[in-house]
């Protein structure tokens, strides 16, 4: 890539050479993809580059003053954009850029990271129009992301590695740690949204902390309820004739509001796990009937009401429909 070579008599050369060597190592026939890649970036960054350079001030010509290809400023930017690992956000001072300019006149630089930092300083200090810079940075990040993640459309041959291809967003850091962190955070937010649907009363709350509070409260209250019920069960339990059959048939008819999971009981009737087939139509009826009043009655903060108002109505409704269908009612 002659154009690229020409302007790379400044310190960029070492970095780009390194990159090329690396890519060469990865893929013997890298040259054309890489050339294409850079051309691509130049195309993309064309508009902004001009704007950027126009407002770049004096620093940039000094830096790239050695280059003979001033007329192709896009190319000069592209190596820069491929470098930098999230250092764009660092704010440096003027004095450091002067040092950097002097250093730039050296041909061979040893430190890659220092270079990147200085370039980032340059980009930030030469901020004529922040928006264009940001866009440039954004796209730079994208390219850099692509480069670092081997996911640019041109270098697809290098995509044998298992990177998670994350597109950097505006104003976000792009080193691998931040990306991983961001992915993790996104996963967590996704799960939190799911929990929001699950826990009653959570949809009004925005913010992770409040929602987590709600979830914690809800789980604790459920656990306490279960404990209380099991205590009650321990008290109530000593009944030698604890027979599901009698209980359901007797209790349900008299007190229609009791047995909530009666549709399931009916289901289990034929599964001969515990309850034999003695479940009557009355139970189904009462189960169905009480189900609706329960929705209206239990409007307190009892989790049971939430449960009824939430998913189960639709779910049990279909079940009960099935039951009635089979009954021929």
């Amino acid at each position: 890539m002659n154009g690229g070579d020409l302007l790379l008599n400044c310190t960029d050369m070492s970095v780009l050479e390194r990159q090329r060597a690396h890519l060469k190592y990865l893929n013997p026939s890298f040259d054309s993809p890489l050339a294409g890649f850079f051309a691509d970036t130049s195309m993309i960054n064309g508009g902004e580059m001009d704007g950027f350079l126009a407002t770049a001030g004096l620093n940039l010509p000094m830096i790239y003053g050695q280059t003979t290809v001033v007329g192709d400023p896009r190319m000069s930017i592209s190596p820069e954009t491929t470098l930098g690992t999230g250092n764009f956000k660092k704010r440096k001072f003027d004095t450091e850029t002067k040092d950097c300019n002097e250093k730039k006149k050296m041909v061979n630089r040893e430190e890659v990271t220092e270079e990147e930092e200085e370039k980032s300083k340059i980009t930030e200090l030469n901020n004529g129009s922040p928006k264009s810079i940001k866009k440039m940075k954004n796209k730079a990040k994208k390219e850099e992301n692509n480069c670092s993640n081997d996911s640019s459309k041109v270098t697809k041959e290098l995509e044998k590695t298992d990177y998670i291809h994350v597109r950097a967003r505006r104003g976000q850091a792009t080193d691998s740690h931040s990306i991983a962190e961001r992915v993790r955070r996104e996963k967590i937010s996704e799960r939190m949204k799911f929990l929001q649907d699950l826990v009653p009363g959570c949809d009004k709350i925005t913010g992770k902390a409040g929602m987590l509070d709600e979830i914690i409260n809800y789980v604790q209250s459920l656990q306490r309820q279960i404990e209380f019920l099991s205590m009650k069960l321990a008290v109530v339990n000593p009944r030698p004739d604890f027979d599901m059959d009698d209980i359901f048939a007797k209790e349900v008819v008299s007190t229609p509001m009791t047995v909530v999971p009666s549709p399931e009981m009916v289901h289990s009737g034929y599964s001969h796990e515990m309850v034999n087939s003695g479940y009557s139509n009355e139970m189904v009826n009462s189960g169905y009937h009480h189900f609706n009043p329960m929705q209206q009655v239990e409007t307190s903060s009892d989790p049971l009401s939430y449960f009824n108002n939430g998913q189960p109505p639709s779910m049990w409704h279909s079940d009960v429909q099935n039951l009635y269908g089979s009954l021929g009612v």
């Binding site: 996963k187 459920l222 656990q223 339990n237 999971p261 549709p263 289901h267 034929y270 003695g278 989790p303």
Partner: protein, 157 residues
């Protein structure tokens, strides 16, 4: 007698028995719990602890596709007095939370996530994302469990 005839005549079946996971869970749960309670009845020493033990055991056995149920089973089998709920420490937890209100938000969230982890059986061993998904189905199973327990209690009274 007549009731029996009626029962036999009007037995009902669901057309899709195993499609509904809540129904499946509840059925499994009650099928574990009720015989266990019966057995406890026979022994006539149904203390609070053993009932709670059976309750938790039924929960763990009915939800075996979830990670937390494994941990719960481990806990139950290892200790004789399992405490999946720590009601005594609930007050302390609430106090802690209110103290940290002025703190860093990110730290708060971390704190709450850790608290959730303590609530979930085996939560400490999981990482946060896994824990959050497990908490979802744990909540669901807890809800179903409360319903089943309520119905059982009401039936026996």
């Amino acid at each position: 007698m007549e009731r029996q005839i009626i029962n036999k005549k009007k037995r009902v079946f669901s057309l899709e028995p195993n499609k509904n996971p809540s129904a499946v869970f509840t059925r499994k749960y009650t099928s574990h719990l009720v015989p266990a309670l019966k057995k406890l009845n026979m022994n006539k020493n149904s203390s609070k602890q053993t009932v709670k033990h059976e309750v938790d055991m039924a929960l763990a056995l009915s939800a075996q596709e979830f990670a937390w149920s494994r941990f719960l089973l481990q806990k139950l089998s290892s200790s004789t007095n399992p405490t999946t709920t720590t009601s005594s420490s609930d007050g302390i937890q609430i106090l802690e939370r209110s103290d940290k209100e002025g703190g860093n938000e990110e730290g708060e969230i971390e704190e709450k996530l850790r608290e959730l982890q303590t609530l979930l059986p085996g939560g400490e061993e999981m990482n946060v994302e896994e824990m959050l998904s497990e908490i979802g189905n744990y909540i669901k199973c807890l809800e179903l469990q409360t319903i089943a327990l309520k119905s059982i209690v009401q039936d026996s009274t």
